[in-house]
């Protein structure tokens, strides 16, 4: 929210589409042997020895992000993360991405550069090749559309379908922090609007803000599971909220799920922030969304391999479909889980 008094603003039309593409892609390197041809032809050429997984997600200004507080570099990074997360949710290794952007003419070359710095950082950190994309004008806001590609042996790919009665439900990391980060950003935006001289005091919330603005996809989890010799029976990533992802797993696997309130992993700062905002932390964990953790089921016999791992929490188990999906509260009460996750079509 601190503006540079003399920012350099080069209009994109000075470069043209091809000049812009050259400019933004010059730092990207191809590192995967499966990338035969990257950017620069009518299409990229890949050579995957294993099965290929493909997923795509679109981020729209004013719907998925607010440029008044989301730095462009973080936004570029996040756009890659939300897509890689879906690749990891298939238990696959992410290998390539394509990135298409539509930008309004208020977007100078410098802003595009910042966005692509984030994309580049994500590609380098997660070892994926940028192999193509499209760059176009937009009559209004910024739109980012990413397609992520990965590979895995056919028999190691994990789907939403496959959970069976008695399996354990496991989640990586902790949840609810990204949603609370958004609450803090929205509050500070309102404060800033009321009094632009006010300096926001957000140090105490740095974990929450990072989870919202620069999330990390769980590349490490498929690797960890392989090391632990655990193949999940089903898996999904947490993008829309725990409750809605549990319902997806149940629907695809034709099972029910019981989770326990006291098992849900929450970071202490989430609990503190929930108290401050007078919100129930369990509700936030269930409905918050954007955690990009992995939610998966494993066979009971894998319990010893999972139980002591600091990255993993067993939060419940799979039951017969007739029992539905329920949360057992700290008080022992059983409450049906409803999908209350985020929906871009609701105001």
């Amino acid at each position: 929210m601190i503006e540079d008094k003399n920012p350099q603003r080069t209009p994109v039309e000075n470069l043209g589409e091809f000049g812009l593409i050259d400019f933004i892609t010059k730092n990207f390197e191809i590192t995967h042997s499966s990338t035969v041809t990257g950017i620069g032809d009518d299409a990229a050429v890949l050579n995957h020895a294993k099965s290929t997984v493909v997923t795509t997600d679109m981020l729209v200004e004013g719907v998925h992000f607010d440029l008044s507080y989301a730095p462009l570099k973080h936004l570029g990074y996040k756009a890659i993360m939300v897509n890689l997360s879906d690749v990891y949710a298939m238990n696959a290794v992410a290998t390539q991405v394509t990135v298409s952007i539509a930008i309004s003419n208020r977007f100078p070359v410098e802003a595009v550069k910042e966005l692509y710095e984030g994309i580049e950082m994500a590609c380098k950190t997660y070892n994926v090749d940028l192999i193509g994309g499209d760059t176009t004008a937009s009559r209004s806001g910024l739109v980012i559309s990413v397609t992520a590609i990965g590979e895995q042996d056919a028999d190691k790919i994990v789907r939403r379908k496959g959970a069976a009665d008695g399996d354990l439900l496991v989640v990586s990391g902790d949840i609810g922090a990204a949603y609370m980060g958004l609450q803090i950003l929205e509050r500070e935006k309102a404060v800033f609007k009321a009094n632009p001289q006010n300096q926001p005091d957000i140090d105490a919330y740095s974990y929450l803000l990072e989870r919202q603005l620069k999330p990390e996809a769980r590349k490490d989890i498929p690797k960890l599971l392989e090391e632990l010799d655990v193949l999940p029976t089903s898996m999904i990533d947490l993008s829309d909220g725990l409750s809605s992802e549990i319902i997806h797993l149940c629907k695809h696997s034709d099972v029910g799920i019981t989770i326990y309130e006291d098992k849900i992993p929450l970071d202490p700062t989430v609990i503190t922030a929930c108290e401050e905002f007078n919100l129930d932390s369990t509700t936030i964990a269930l409905s918050g969304g954007e955690d990009y953790e992995l939610l998966f089921t494993v066979k009971q016999e894998d319990f010893p391999k999972i139980k002591a791992n600091p990255s993993l929490s067993i939060i419940g188990h799979v039951v017969d479909a007739s029992l539905g999906s329920n949360l057992v509260t700290r008080g022992g009460e059983q409450i049906p889980i409803r999908a209350m996750g985020w929906n871009s079509f609701q105001e």
Copy 2:
């Protein structure tokens, strides 16, 4: 431009994102054995025995299309075509697509349905599987982002690079019609604005309008070339205009190209329309864009296989890079070819 007095308008939020996805994808069928898992998981799973080609293009309302004259069904069809065209330009077989859309809330379910009817028709006609996508709200116009995937033996993939001195330059079909179709649509829009009672008389232009509103990608050309036992030395699709694609081929192959004005294939209606609009038909052919024909080079020894084919025109030949790219006019004059193709960043 004729409005239904009582159109049914179901708000998208009535269905929600998942309801909408179920609604729009229910008619799509998986036909390729290489599609192991389609829509409905975190990612699709593919099993390509050959090399995989991947391409992506984004269409933005107000930049690439105008909903005041582009029927949604045609727009859905065209969004698939512009992507498949890039797959065919690699001499590959298109097998899968993902489609992401961002829609404003003025877009009812019925409009989304119409758009997907066009996408479905394209997928069926061109035998590609819809395997994924994203559906989101937009704060303003419609955005469509498609990723197309295809496959081909590694040694049969044709790139922009590969043209050599002496090769013949060949184009499929005829060019300039899509641009003239756009001119007619723009003129009729202006007439309609001035006098809404005026009934446009566009029968004479049906070929031009179809080329603009519902183009067909040249799936048949890679197949034809295989039957003729011709493997092009380089290839590109005509999206931005003949001149700009010639320059791409020259740059990637490090060659020059000479083309002959009298060899450029023009449909008679393009010539008529150019006379009516007082435009030079050669300029339109060079700079018009959106033809989605294939432009490729073949070895001279393949001349007998190509020459009599009604789908193919030999319009020039490859020369040394030092000679640059030139058009030889009907009068024998040599004019340098400059990229004058369409650029979304110019007004």
